[in-house]
Amino acid sequence: MSAVRIPPTLRTATSGEKLVDVPGSTIREVVDGLVVAYPALAPQLLDGQGGINRFVNVFLNDTDVRHLDGLDTAVGERDSVVLLPAMAGG
């Protein structure tokens, strides 16, 4: 199980939960597991073509997974996954 931090905008879909435990050995599996547990997240998290919505950035232990192996990035039992809006800069 890895801990996934849910941003406020998505917490309606998780009944207000800020931190949820999700199984999975890769980012893809964690995201898929998240959507299975909370189906209402699907339209916000997924792009409909097997990828992540371009407005969502996924971080593994504070590193953007695009700088790692993307959706194939390995996730360990004690890792934390954070979902954040793709919103950077001034």
């Binding site: 954070v82 793709a86 919103m87 800069g89 001034g90």
Partner: protein, 437 residues
């Protein structure tokens, strides 16, 4: 000749709105998703609840058109609030920094040097905290007070730190500015001078930004470029309004501006578009040219590759810290704007940036921060590329003051520029003068 939009600000209109219930002016409809168009209520939010896309302020264009006129604007005090009808604030605040109405200067020496016959410089180095960020922060701060937010904050590459700290000081609000720990010392000192709490983060700007997204969720502070971002971004439109007014209510052929997140670049286009929608200027095509440092050029790289898929840069390597955003929020929109307008996005090596800083200072007497060097070098590159053509009227934006990055101009110089000291005697001076001839 220097064209001033108006004299330096001295007074602000009345009708201070702090403490009043938050009431959207009729012209401000609310927020809307830039991606899917879904309307959202006016508030300190920035993400669409349906698609996670960015929110922006939505106006009733008919109301704006019916209520604004050139004459009304020209009769108002100087500063960015003279364009109130185009801003998401109910009334001009009576408190705060006096921002905007910076001059548009004909570059009569720099223009010929760049082989650009008609070149204007928008000198935004003169804002209260010495950068264009004062514009964005003024609007965000005004809205923050209407929302009852009592603390300002930001994630900054430097200029925004000073702008947020200065605005908060003027409004009597505490400020927390989050910056990369290795930022230029002058920018850190600048924010500290205003009494802000500076929070250095061990990482890049993008690390700082990620942290601030999380902190904004937890604290409820008004992060000007996070949860106040829809309002913050609107402030940059005032650059377009002032340029149009300074040119006698018309637009130039080409705008050249720096790109970090791309927010200001895209809001320039929005600003000119809104003026045309309101009937204040004729709608004419404008080519938008952006500049990025080659050591952190995710938007320029995407544009050059012919894609709107902007890939993030993990570790920026450039002296241009103010543009060192590896994961720009408005990168895609910036590429789309450059393409749609037949413009370009140029990647500028640091040596060219330093040379351009020296060139603008030596030829026009304006000491620009690194982003201004990128902009001027981008204008040169765009002319060589053919995007800027003979006879074009070009406006280049100098968005920050060189005193924030005093060492940057020295890059590429082989010798120091400080003369050796001499004794205080006429003979010593004459000997020194002789040695130089």
């Amino acid at each position: 000749m220097t064209i001033e939009t108006a004299p330096a600000p001295t007074t602000q209109p009345t009708a201070h709105d702090a403490g009043r219930p938050v009431m959207a002016a009729p012209r401000v409809v609310g927020l809307a998703c830039r991606n899917c168009g879904r309307p959202e209520p006016l508030g300190p939010s920035y993400v669409c609840s349906a698609c996670f896309g960015p929110l922006e302020v939505a106006y009733d264009k008919d109301v704006v058109r019916e209520t604004v006129s050139r004459e009304a604007i020209e009769a108002r005090p100087p500063g960015l609030w003279r364009y109130l009808e185009f801003l998401p604030v109910d009334a001009p605040p009576t408190h705060g920094l006096r921002v905007g109405s910076t001059p548009l200067i004909p570059a009569e020496r720099l223009g010929p040097a760049l082989q650009i016959e008609s070149l204007w410089l928008k000198d935004d180095t003169r804002n209260p905290t010495l950068s264009f960020k004062d514009r964005a922060v003024a609007v965000a701060a005004a809205r923050a007070r209407q929302f009852g937010i009592d603390t300002l904050a930001c994630a900054s590459t430097g200029n925004l730190a000073g702008a947020t700290a200065g605005a908060a000081a003027a409004l009597g609000m505490p400020a927390y500015v989050f910056i990369p720990a290795d930022l230029e010392p002058a920018k850190i000192d600048h924010a500290l001078a205003y009494g802000a709490t500076v929070v250095p983060i061990e990482g890049t700007y993008d690390d700082v930004n990620r942290l601030c997204l999380e902190v904004a969720d937890e604290t409820g502070w008004g992060f000007v470029n996070v949860n106040l971002r829809p309002f913050y971004a609107e402030g940059s439109k005032t650059l377009a309004f002032e340029i149009a007014e300074s040119l006698g209510w018309r637009s130039p052929d080409v705008i050249v501006a720096p790109i970090a997140s791309g927010a200001m670049f895209t809001k320039l286009a929005k600003g000119f578009g809104e003026l045309a929608d309101a009937g204040l200027i004729e709608r004419r095509p404008i080519r938008f040219v952006g500049g990025q440092p080659a050591g952190c050029a995710p938007v320029a790289t995407a544009w050059e590759a012919g894609t709107t898929d902007v890939q993030p840069v993990r570790t920026p390597e450039t002296i241009v810290r103010s543009l060192a955003i590896g994961n720009p929020a408005d990168g895609r929109y910036s590429v789309e704007l450059a393409n749609a307008s037949a413009g370009s996005i140029e990647a500028i090596p640091d040596e060219a940036t330093a040379a351009a800083i020296r060139q603008v200072a030596a030829l026009e007497g304006i000491f620009s921060e690194t982003a201004g060097g990128v902009t001027v070098a981008a204008a040169d590159a765009a002319r060589k590329r053919g995007v800027i053509r003979d006879g074009d009227e070009v406006v280049a934006l100098l968005t920050g003051n060189g005193l924030k990055t005093p060492d940057a101009r020295l890059l590429g110089l082989e010798e120091g520029t400080v003369a050796p000291s001499i004794r205080p005697s006429l003979s010593a001076f004459e000997a020194w003068l002789e040695s130089r001839s």
